[in-house]
Symmetry: C2
Subunit: 340 residues, 2 copies
């Protein structure tokens, strides 16, 4: 609810800005600020300049509305990804819930590590272990049942540090950015390494992004008929990894157009940003750099989740926008709802 209210307020500002001929050069006091949670600075200015230029009819950089495709990463770009990806937290909780049906897990890695809370052994299981955990917790049910399981978890699970629902730990400045883009007739897509169906559960309510505009990694599914009722069963098999070089592949597969605006925060977004930059004509490439250990987290080149190393060098070399979270963002999360 708090999100919806704040998004409405932002939208009102954006619309008013449009009505009164908002332009980046204009004095801020005259029109509502479309990005109120962003401090004035080069990143905010570059976003507004870009949107102003591509929406200016008759201008040299004008882009028709149907070509205003924006692709935005999720983990670490729209919501928190520390101390671990939210979807991994979900999977670990599911291992605990499902353990009674799998007595063998008590003695089998990587499940034993999860049940014992043995972080070191879990880390030692590496990517292979993660894939096994995801397969065991994300398959064997219908797609409808999976959506319900994720929805139930998101409704109650809380972040270990902030003690808030994960869907409340979204970045307020980025929510404003999504609203601002849509008010300027951009079509906003999420393009994330995270699970497509996992994200679809909350993307519409949390980001106003409908399921058909959520691109992500996915499991194979199979059409089956049970008692004459068709179901799609989730198989323990990854169908597509929407990360790194997979992002342009996913963008082409799901959207079929070149983005003109892309935002990410890690090396997994590098190729998406390169693909966006390769568009003939003006395009915008942005990265969120997590520099605020007090209000959120500070991490980049050495991080286990959301490692930002090569993409940061490339952004600096090519002049892409890099958000300094500590400096550029007035607030990080939406305000907490008051107890009624």
């Amino acid at each position: 609810m708090l999100l919806i209210l704040s998004r409405r307020a932002v939208l009102a500002g954006v619309l008013a800005a449009g009505l009164f001929g908002f332009a980046s050069g204009q004095a801020q006091s005259e029109v509502p600020d479309p990005l109120p949670s962003w401090n004035e600075g080069p990143v905010k200015k570059s976003i507004i300049d870009f949107v102003t230029r591509v929406t200016k009819e008759g201008g040299p950089d004008y882009v028709k509305p149907e070509l205003r495709i924006a692709t935005i990463d999720n983990d670490g770009t729209l919501w928190v990804e520390q101390p671990m990806y939210t979807q991994l937290a979900f999977a670990l909780d599911r291992v605990k819930v499902l353990a009674p049906q799998h007595p063998e897990w008590k003695t089998t890695q990587p499940f034993k590590a999860v049940l014992d809370g043995d972080v070191e052994a879990l880390a030692a299981s590496g990517e292979k272990g993660m894939v096994e955990i995801i397969a065991a917790t994300h398959s064997g049910m219908s797609t409808d049942d999976f959506l319900k399981i994720v929805g139930d978890w998101l409704a109650t699970a809380k972040h270990p540090r902030f003690k808030r629902l994960y869907t409340e730990l979204v970045y307020q400045p980025m929510i404003e950015l999504l609203v601002y883009l849509r008010a300027n007739q951009f079509k906003t897509f999420i393009v994330s390494g995270g699970g497509q169906e996992f994200m679809r559960v909350f993307a519409e309510k949390t980001y106003d992004v409908p399921p058909e505009q959520v691109v992500g990694s996915g499991s194979a599914t199979q059409f089956e008929t049970w008692d004459e009722a068709p179901v799609l069963m989730r198989l323990p098999k990854v169908d597509f990894i929407d990360d790194g070089p997979g992002k342009p592949v996913g963008i082409n597969r799901f959207i079929g157009r070149h983005p003109i605006f892309a935002f990410g925060n890690s090396d997994g977004d590098k190729e998406m940003l390169e693909w966006t930059a390769a568009r003939p004509g003006l395009s915008f490439m942005g990265l969120v750099h997590h520099t605020d250990g007090v209000r959120e987290y500070a991490y980049d080149r050495q991080s286990k989740f959301g490692k930002l190393d090569k993409a940061l060098d490339e952004a600096n070399a090519k002049g892409w926008a890099v958000v300094d979270m500590k400096k550029d963002w007035k607030t990080i999360f939406p305000p907490e709802a008051k107890t009624p």
Copy 2:
């Protein structure tokens, strides 16, 4: 141009119908007909009844606009698929164009059959032969280059019987249906066994369906960097077959919502229709039955392309709408453009 004009006329009718409170029970003379190329009959009535019911706010069958997902097959449902799928005609033409670069094709099947015009030998090569032809003609270039090749071909290639561009051999009644659905805030998706990127070349101009709403079979692509310029290369590997049980899988993968309206014409659409019927609440399932050998083609249970057998039995058993092309459609194709 002729299409755009006729679509505008239909849209004007649909909008006027909305303004004047069109309802299916109302006398036809009072309001413009949203489906003027459809003869009065049970199929036309069932379409209009369905749309009226799901858009009636406060009614028992009301569906919110964002859930009004329509999935429509392409070959044989929106455009001609005889004497062979248009994409196959494209592939055969490409074999001839590429033959000088492949001297070995002169003696290797199935390519020899194509070059010799030997239909029997081509048929004998079966599905394996088709896959080889598609792989040889649909891969090895960038996605951008492929779009250009298809676009160039569609701009000149003509249908052997009707001597018109393939994009003019679309069914006028179905174009009106797409316009009518969108005027009632449906989001119209193409869900076809045909190649996704092939269809995207013409879907926007021909059907007003943007690339991101075209779901189809697809080749794998790979992100590469050539002289610092990123490209997506098409690989000779099928990534996804959007046909039969693959259609619900594709719908879930690309759209992530249940259709409430689906139209097909062959057994390849059976599972899509079953999936649509399985939705809790009202849904519409329709089939085009090709019964008009004079104006178009007459085929069903024995056809090599667009075989309609099991799906026809199921439609009859379950009361799905079945278009009798000869009886239900006043016109088949849009009128030919006059020479200026």
